[in-house]
Amino acid sequence: MRKYIETAKVLFKAQLVYHFDILLTVVFTISKILLAHVLWGAIFENQDTVSGFTYPSMLSYYIISSFITQLDQSAGTGGQIAAEIRSGRFSKYIVKPMSIFWYFTAQTAGVSAFLLSFNLLAALAWIFIFRVDFTITVDIAVILSALILILLGLLFMMQMNYYIGILAFKFLDTSVFSMIKDNVVRFVTGSLIPLALLPAGIVEIMRLFPFYYVSYLPSMLLIGKNESEALAGIIILACWNAAFGILNAATYKNLKMKYDGVGI
């Protein structure tokens, strides 16, 4: 465990070198909030509520959802894994006396931990700049459930991106697949619009999949909605994590045999 904590610490410190990039990443979260502000501002000019959301609760949803989404840095790690495999540099990870998956998870956790405070500051800045009447629950149990869901969600995203990354053993270039995945994930996790706007039947189906619980449900919980779904969400997301863990272990075991360490 200690070696993974050290890995996370190194990556945490390494972010200081890229402070300008990090600052931009945080500042650019404004585009999501601005989109919500403009789009939903126009819609709420004609009506007071949309699918149970008022204008302040809608903006609060986007600010929280954007905050959670920014914490997830695993897509970059997935891309890094694929690039290292393609170039033949993955060998340096194989020789490390650590689990490769947990090594990359620790790396990503280090980056996310660094971003945490900046994202929080950005969220506060957007609340102030867009003069949002911010809505947040004060129920400790609900906040705790949301935090557990966020952690499980981050782990799930890491597992999924790791899986796509190691597919490079077979396909070499997984960048197209990864970009399509990013587009789909943005929609199904509720980053673009709250999933409550979708037809009830589709939402029911989405509840069986992990994406519903990655950022949508925690955001809803934090604005004081959908409290009854918290426990089921934690159980379902934990099951998906376990399933993906098995899938990743089996896939890595099978595909690593194709790795020649030469690169292209």
């Binding site: 300008f20 990039d21 931009l24 650019f28 585009s31 601005l34 989109l35 403009v38 789009l39 501002g41 126009a42 819609i43 000019e45 004609n46 009506q47 949309v50 699918s51 396909f171 070499l172 270039d173 960048s175 197209v176 970009m179 399509i180 587009n183 789909v184 943005r186 929609f187 673009l192 619009i193 706007l197 979708l198 037809p199």
Partner: protein, 265 residues
């Protein structure tokens, strides 16, 4: 140089690009699938929103679909023709590879712009035309030759504007070498403006996306023209913006080339 010679060069560059692309067949239609999925999701998003409301800032569902289809079309033609060429400019400046282009008896910007034509993006053009046709079929407008011609003329003008913006952003590295943050900023601005019509912006954001970085007019103006909501002043304004930005792009590029130090880093 005459047009025939330019077309011959484009044809030659296309053949060379095809030969290179065939080596990576898996990614041949990459841009089509990536951008196709993005616009499909945008349609799904607005479908969900319009199930809750009848209009967004005066844009009904069919008009919004036309807006999305128009941006998708502009983006697809951009990807197919010059995007993959223009995006290489910062790297060529940074690495000193631009030397190879400057010494050739072809206009440097022309050569770079057309050397990476992406045939894989062409299906996205047809998909976009499909979205536009579907949107128009549900609109209560009379389809005339002039309306269609005016629409495609405006799309053509906006393609020039899109090209201008891409070149301007990638000419900055002549002066600052490392400009990845500018490209990221461009990406965020384009993504934002392809999601909502420019007319929804107000105040400082309207000035930003209508004048300073006119991404806000790119799909909005042609869609407004087709829907019959574009005023003559709006039409004239967009023409002036395209002319002004094109003149600025050419002058800025020339200045950038003069500033080029031919030193890789």
């Amino acid at each position: 140089m005459n047009i025939y010679k330019h077309l011959k060069i484009i044809w030659m560059l296309l053949k060379m690009k095809l030969a290179r692309t065939m080596a990576f067949r898996f990614t041949f239609f990459g841009a089509f699938f990536v951008d196709g999925s993005m616009f499909l999701i945008q349609i799904l998003m607005f479908n969900a929103i319009y199930s809750q409301t009848g209009s967004i800032g005066g844009w009904d569902k069919q008009q919004m679909l036309l807006f999305i289809g128009t941006f998708s079309l502009i983006n697809a033609v951009n990807m197919a023709i010059y995007f993959f060429g223009v995006i290489t400019i910062p790297w060529k400046i940074k690495s000193g590879d631009l030397d190879l282009y400057i010494t050739k008896p072809v206009n440097t910007l022309f050569h770079i712009s057309f050397e990476n034509i992406d045939i894989g993006s062409v299906p996205l053009i047809f998909a976009s035309l499909g979205i536009i046709a579907y949107a128009v079929s549900g609109m209560n407008v009379q389809i005339t030759f002039w309306r269609v011609s005016g629409y495609f003329l405006l799309v053509g003008m906006m393609l020039i504007l899109y090209y201008d913006m891409e070149v301007i952003m990638r000419t900055i590295p002549f002066f600052v070498i490392q400009a990845s943050s500018i490209e990221r900023f461009e990406g965020e601005a384009v993504t934002l403006c392809m999601k909502i019509p420019g007319t929804l912006f107000k105040g400082a954001f309207k000035v930003l996306f209508y004048l300073v970085l006119p991404y806000g007019i790119m799909a909005t103006v042609p869609a407004q023209f087709f829907a019959g909501t574009l005023t003559p002043a709006g039409f004239l304004y967009s023409m002036c913006i395209v002319a002004a930005f094109t003149a600025f792009t050419l002058a800025f590029w020339k200045l950038g080339l003069k500033h080029y130090k031919s030193a890789s880093s």
